[in-house]
């Protein structure tokens, strides 16, 4: 990629002080997202995917806080700027889509109210112009008869339609980066594909950078250009989606793929990864995955594997799975 990335996360650490010690839900994570690109972030619940998204947009719930690393939005650091400066960036430069469209809209305000207030906050337009933009935003996400429905309340829409409204809200001030936190999880299966397609279209048409957080490998395979696999707060693997899916190099990714039902795999029996992800308070020494890994050696138990830097196609593992066409060197 020759252009500067829209979002660069470098060595990000999020910590939560508790009475049992400090937890680290996000541990030295680095990645980039370019304009018009969808980065899928995948992992089990508790792997730190959502926490990473919240850290980027500056909505970590105290006492969680960023203790190390940096976040750059279009080259500008945003991890250490003032609250008010960050607020002005939210909505304007980066939008966020939440999991449950039922609860992310204010039930007592019309969707028109919620759209226009966001537009008026960030863009220098008149009231009536804001309304026109709101209608345009609704039309763009595929709400039929947007002009008539702008005065409706959220409860008057179905779940899928509501998620479209949420997307319109996140995009109405034309941000460069959108963080979609499990945008399809709460929806019916039939609606999920529509929402994924919509996100993909908006990303391509507008050149928005999208960080798509999900635990659903199907959604990743469908939408993402590159994928970051997280495990116990750390980045396990990062690479182009095709390569990661077909030629996983981290044993965890491989296990994840084998345990995911894919239509193309037919009736093959699904494998499962033995054990469960460790609690953050009780991470094993060395590689966090080693108790569940059949390739683990003394090395894995002693020291954490070298981290992947932000280039593609490498896995944080002492013994990555062999590649048919290895182009990059194995981490030492």
């Amino acid at each position: 990629m020759d252009k500067d990335p829209v979002l660069s996360v470098r060595d990000l650490v999020v910590e939560i002080p508790t009475r049992h010690g400090i937890l680290r839900p996000v541990d030295r994570v680095s990645y980039d997202i370019h304009a018009g690109e969808i980065l899928g972030v995948v992992g089990e619940s508790g792997a730190g995917k959502s926490m990473t998204g919240n850290a980027v947009i500056g909505l970590l719930d105290p006492p969680a806080r960023i203790t190390h690393g940096e976040i750059l939005l279009s080259g500008q650091p945003i991890h250490n700027i003032k609250r008010e400066a960050l607020r002005k960036l939210r909505g304007k430069k980066m939008g966020m889509i939440f999991q449950d469209p039922l609860t992310s809209l204010n039930p007592l305000l019309t969707i028109g109210d919620q759209l226009t207030e966001t537009i008026l906050e960030h863009l220098d337009v008149s009231q009536s112009e804001a309304r026109e933009r709101a209608i345009a935003a609704l039309e763009e996400v595929g709400i039929p008869a947007a002009r008539d429905r702008i005065g409706s309340y959220p409860h008057e829409f179905s779940g899928g339609m509501r998620q479209r409204v949420v997307i319109a809200l996140a995009l109405c001030a034309e941000p460069e980066l959108v963080i979609a936190d499990e945008p399809t999880t709460a929806l019916d299966v039939s609606v999920q594909a529509q929402i994924v397609a919509l996100l993909k279209r908006l990303c391509r048409e507008r050149g928005v950078a999208v960080m798509l957080v999900t635990h659903d490998m199907g959604v990743i395979a469908e939408a993402a250009d590159r994928v970051a696999v997280m495990y116990a707060g750390r980045l396990a693997e990062l690479g182009p989606v095709r390569e990661v899916i077909t030629q996983a190099r981290h044993p965890y990714t491989a296990g994840l793929m084998a345990s995911t039902p894919m239509a193309s795999q037919g009736a093959k029996r699904l494998r499962q990864i033995p054990g469960a992800m460790p609690r953050l308070g009780a991470l094993p020494h060395g590689c966090a995955f080693h108790p569940r890994c059949d390739r683990a050696t003394a090395e894995c138990r002693a020291d954490p594997p070298p981290r992947i830097d932000y280039c593609d196609g490498r896995a944080a593992c002492w013994h990555p799975l062999a590649q048919k066409d290895t182009t990059k060197g194995e981490p030492a």
Binding site: L108, H122, G159
Partner: protein, 329 residues
């Protein structure tokens, strides 16, 4: 919506009927009014005549019906203690209580909602924490003790404000008397109003705070923040409106209970209202006054409840849709 209102009105009438039954049972079973009304020197003939006069010789349902008939017309008979019609005494005393309750209610509502919002937004602030601690003292401080302490401070020690009574009152129309128009009347109102309002204010404040914190944790607040809306807009446009929905019910009931708590304040300050009348009635087992007071206060409570329910429709659009339309998922 109309069906809902009709059902609510019907329920309210049912509550009133039950309360009426309680009030009437008091007449029938508690003490013997004949005993109470006639002195030591009485003859059997006196007793029989009075029983017939009061209708006590009729069967129970007939008596209940008669009682309801009379009650609807505001007729609760004669006070055992004063020998005057109860309705007359109540009407005479009502303005004092209503004025006191109104001032306290406004105080409690404005102070309670304002402080509740403040303590919720500045959750970790020093001032908010101090207010919360003070409010626990406020909740633990019985109303009568607040009154007594205020009297001790402002009447006995400082001598600024009167410790009892209503001051000079002005008569308006046929039966209303007001203390709002004279200096002594206003001065006399200050301590009782604070006493009565303080406790309700703390309750409303704590309630608003709890609800607001709950709402502020909600997804749509997060989403509003994620869209970069200002704190002012997030707090007052998004959070406050949602907070008020549940707060309205309990606040409505709180305001209703001000009239009941006025009993205590009126006793402390010898405020000539219906509450003081009720306490005296209990002390002297003056059943007609107790029953009339009970019926009057029930009508007020039921009325307030009804208004509160209707207010929901004004605030929450989800209730305005006809449920049978089934547009929701």
């Amino acid at each position: 919506m109309l069906a809902y209102i009709i059902r609510r009105v019907f329920q309210s009438l049912l509550v009133l009927l039950v309360v009426g039954l309680v009030a009437f049972s008091m007449f029938s079973f508690v003490g013997d009014p004949v005993d109470n009304m006639l002195g030591q020197e009485r003859t059997q003939a006196d007793i029989e005549r009075l029983r017939a006069d009061l209708g006590l010789d009729k069967p129970f349902p007939v008596q209940y019906w008669r009682f309801l008939e009379q009650a609807v017309q505001g007729n609760f008979g004669l006070s055992y203690r004063q020998g005057r019609p109860v309705s007359e005494i109540l009407v005479e005393r009502l303005p004092a209580t209503l004025e006191l309750a109104f001032v306290s209610g406004v105080l409690a509502l404005l102070g309670g909602i304002g402080l509740g919002i403040f303590t919720a937004i500045r959750k970790r602030g020093v001032a908010a924490n101090m207010i919360m601690t003070l409010s626990l003292v406020g909740v633990s401080l019985p109303t009568f003790l607040i009154g007594v302490l205020l009297i001790y401070l402002f009447s006995v020690e400082l001598g600024w404000l009167p410790s009892f009574g209503r001051g000079d009152v002005t008569r308006i129309g046929d039966w209303w008397t007001t203390g709002f128009l004279t200096e002594t009347g206003l001065k006399a109102l200050i301590l009782p109003a604070i006493t009565l309002g303080l406790y309700q204010m703390t309750l409303i404040m704590r309630l608003v705070r709890t609800e607001m914190l709950e709402v502020l944790r909600g997804d749509y607040i997060r989403f509003a923040r994620a869209r970069g809306l200002r704190d002012r807009s997030v707090h007052f446009k998004h959070a406050l409106k949602n907070t008020l929905v549940p707060v309205i019910t309990i606040t409505g009931l709180q305001l209703g209970s001000i009239i009941a708590f006025a009993i205590i304040t009126e006793t402390v300050f010898q405020w000539p209202g219906v509450g003081l009348l009720f306490i005296n009635a209990i002390q002297f087992v003056d059943i007609p006054v107790m029953a009339a007071y009970l019926m009057m206060i029930s009508v007020m409570f039921v009325g307030i409840n009804l208004i509160v329910d209707l207010l929901y429709f004004a605030i929450d659009p989800r209730l305005r849709v006809d449920r049978s339309a089934g547009k929701t998922t």
